[in-house]
């Protein structure tokens, strides 16, 4: 018999979330949003428990998690860096900014640095097209980021 292990308090919290949606399987995506809010990501154990609470297969839960780019099974860095790749940002040079981050952090998009400090991801249009190219570090928005400004941004967090 395989086991799933989670901290007790988080397990209860997770079950409460499912319950708050009446353990209704059509609320799966809302449940996943809340769960990701609690854990920061959606590890396999969390998906197992959600599957059980909503009475659906864990394969289905994973099918949904892996479909939507908002959901992640990897913990994010302490300072998650997201670079907008909307058209406006692209046209104004977001790709070069990504390359610069990759160079400095020595990680690829979707990865987290070894020290867990930064993770790198791309997103589509935060709607601040006037500020293109846009970079988000956590909640903080940096507008009109040029490749040579990348170092300075990173220095704020080190």
């Amino acid at each position: 018999m395989a086991t799933i292990t989670l901290p007790a308090s988080k397990l209860d919290q997770l079950k409460d979330v499912c319950k708050s949606f009446n353990n209704d399987k059509k609320e799966l995506i809302n449940v996943l949003h809340k769960a990701q809010g609690i854990f920061g990501y959606l590890p396999a154990e969390v998906q197992e428990i959600i599957a059980r609470e909503l009475n659906i297969s864990v394969a289905h839960v994973y099918g949904v998690v892996s479909f939507y780019s908002f959901f992640t099974m990897l913990p994010k860095g302490e300072h998650p860096i997201s670079i907008c790749l909307g058209t406006a940002c692209y046209v104004r040079g977001a790709e070069k900014v990504i390359d610069e981050f990759k160079k400095h952090l020595q990680i690829k998009v979707g990865e987290t640095t070894a020290d867990g400090k930064f993770s790198l991801s791309c997103l589509r249009c935060v709607g601040a097209c006037g500020l293109a190219p846009v970079v988000l570090v956590g909640e903080k928005v940096y507008g009109r980021v040029a490749p040579d400004g990348v170092k300075k941004i990173l220095e704020e967090y080190t």
Binding site: T3, V58, Y62, S66
Partner: protein
């Protein structure tokens, strides 16, 4: 029903409203190619994601091409199924599928029976104009099934089977876009999932993405080993389907040729799982009556009793209803009863040591491969059944061994484990196990002779059937379900306290073993399964003895070895217990 008129390829066509273009065309002799579409009409199973886009046709007045499988005909529609626009689109789509598909066809398990390969051949694909990156995934080998999902074309048939028909939920489409594929949760191996190894995914996979674990080489090696005595048992559903592999029409019984072929392959003894089926009836039937009579006396016993000969079904309740694992009969499946008797009673009889006796089973089933590897079915690490091969694997073995199957004479099984009754034969179809049980239980319970052994009310293809059999004034309520989704319904009823049955027969595969995951591929033609069922009942009718307890070798086995049904010895060799396979949640 409203009748509508339309034109397909210039032909005037009349059909009823709601008919798809695909079906309407077929009625008029126009075969539009399909790949993802699957319709097992008699089993009410349909896969219609309209995803492959191979069946596109031109509908005049429509901007783009329409998938014939999922587009309903409307009055006045004008359809072209093969003009240049359609042909170019269809070929290009097929080329796209092929561009993300390995080209190791010559060494693929599905070589020659692959629907994608056939289509590429029929459409005259000679060059791939669009080549590029191919998607790669880890290969996954479980005890019964190999997933080589590089070959997955996202037809979603397996996903539909696993979820909608079987409600197992081991598989789901995962990821998105080019990397999307059908896989277990977290893309882990099947043996980490809730997979029951029913093999229905394999049975419908159009390509080599899902295949059985091939044990033919193990068998060849065992046969070649002079220190081993190799015996074989063959399940009832095999004889009703093997002929298809050699071009015979579905439903042709090939029992005699099958026996002859096995003998020519070099098996020392050719036995019949039907014998063990009869033995199962002795044990399971006794257990049923035991529980029933205790129930009638007012004792609290677990009722209804559920059959336990289907290993996928056993896996299913161990995963999904572990708290109800005391309800099924404890009787082992015929395959395992055979193995246990072969490696004790028979081994003694022929004076061969257990470890030098190799038991091979030929099964219509993939879950049997897993079942024979279960630890509880081994003694000192030596399994009761060494290898289980499928009907398809047997056909390969026969072909590899230069045996001209069609010219083989009809031969009989060897004794003592080759003699069986009609009751053992019908184990191969849905309804058969319980009918066999009734034939014996009736006579044991009432002490009267059963004149008519044909219980037609238990037969058929309906997914959930029920009947009440009069045991001389005592009404016995019987339920039957095939397809695990339907089994789930009956099980849920029991859990909810709503079940009124005394006994329930469950088979995991639609149609029962005749529709098993190890059978020759039906390629979407469900009439094949029906024909096999007909053949099974025909074999039953032709048998001289049709009640298990009348099998002379069974009688002898009890007299000389086991004593009585449910005796200690019988219990030790022929019964088992079940495990909780659900995942346990622990807290840190």
């Amino acid at each position: 029903m409203e009748t509508i008129k339309l034109k397909i390829d210039g032909k005037d066509v009349t059909t009823t409203k709601g008919t798809t273009i695909l079906k309407a065309a077929k009625e008029f002799g126009i075969q539009i190619p399909t790949l993802c579409y699957l319709h097992l009409e008699d089993l009410n199973i349909e896969n219609k994601p309209a995803g492959c886009r191979v069946c596109v046709v031109e509908v005049e007045g429509r901007r783009n091409l329409a998938p014939a499988c999922a587009t309903e005909c409307t009055d006045g529609m004008v359809i072209n199924t093969h003009n240049i626009r359609v042909l170019n689109a269809r070929k290009t789509v097929l080329e796209l599928i092929l561009s993300d598909h390995p080209t190791d066809c010559l060494v693929c398990a599905k070589n020659g029976i692959c629907e994608l390969q056939t289509m590429a051949q029929e459409m005259g694909i000679r060059e791939l104009h669009y080549q590029g990156e191919q998607s790669h995934y880890r290969e996954d080998t479980s005890p019964a099934i190999i997933r080589d999902v590089d070959k997955c074309i996202m037809c979603r048939r397996c996903e539909m089977m696993c979820n909608e028909v079987q409600t197992v939920g081991a598989l789901s489409a995962v990821n998105r876009g080019f990397m999307s594929v059908v896989a277990p949760a977290f893309e882990m191996n099947l043996d980490h999932s809730v997979c029951t190894y029913c093999g229905q995914c394999v049975a419908v996979c159009p390509t080599g993405a899902l295949t059985e674990v091939d044990h033919t080489n193990n068998v060849i090696r065992a046969l070649a080993d002079p220190t081993k005595t190799v015996i074989v048992q063959t399940a009832p559903a095999v004889r009703a389907a093997l002929g298809e592999e050699f071009g015979l029409p579905a439903g042709t019984l090939v029992t005699g040729k099958l026996t002859a072929a096995l003998r020519r392959l070099g098996f020392n003894y050719v036995f019949d799982t039907d014998f063990a089926a009869d033995l199962t009836i002795m044990e399971e039937g006794t257990e049923l009556l035991n529980r029933l009579n205790r129930h009638l006396k007012g004792e609290k016993v677990a009722l209804p009793i559920l059959t336990s000969c289907c290993p996928a079904w056993v896996n299913f309740f161990e995963h999904q209803f572990p708290d109800m694992r005391d309800i099924p009969s404890t009787a082992r499946s015929p395959q395992q009863m055979f193995g246990a008797i072969a490696k004790t009673y028979f081994a003694d009889k022929i004076q061969v040591k257990r470890e030098n006796l190799v038991v091979v089973s030929v099964m219509p089933c993939l879950a049997k491969k897993y079942e024979c590897q279960r630890e509880e079915f081994a003694t000192d690490g030596n399994p009761d059944v060494d290898f289980s091969i499928s009907t398809r694997e047997l056909a390969h073995l026969i072909k590899q061994s230069n045996i001209d199957f069609m010219s083989l004479p009809d031969e009989d099984f060897d004794n003592p484990l080759g003699e069986s009754t009609g009751a053992g034969v019908i184990f191969g179809t849905t309804g058969g196990v319980i009918e066999a049980a009734v034939r014996t239980a009736y006579e044991v319970q009432t002490g009267k002779k059963l004149e008519n052994v044909d219980f037609k009310e238990l037969r058929g293809m309906e997914y959930i059937r029920e009947a009440t059999i009069d045991f001389d004034g005592l009404p016995i309520r019987i339920g039957i379900a095939h397809g695990l989704g339907n089994a789930r319904e009956l099980l849920q009823d029991i859990k909810d306290g709503k079940s009124h049955f005394h006994a329930i027969e469950i088979m995991a595969c639609p149609g029962g073993c005749i529709g098993g995951g190890g059978q020759p591929l039906h390629h979407g033609d469900s009439s094949i399964i029906k024909a096999r069922q007909k053949a099974i009942y025909e074999e039953d009718r032709n048998k001289a003895i049709r009640k298990s307890h009348e099998n002379p070798y069974i009688i002898e086995l009890y007299e000389k070895f086991l004593g009585k049904p449910m005796s200690d010895k019988a219990h030790h060799l022929l019964h088992t217990h079940y495990f909780d396979k659900s995942k346990e949640i622990t807290v840190e």
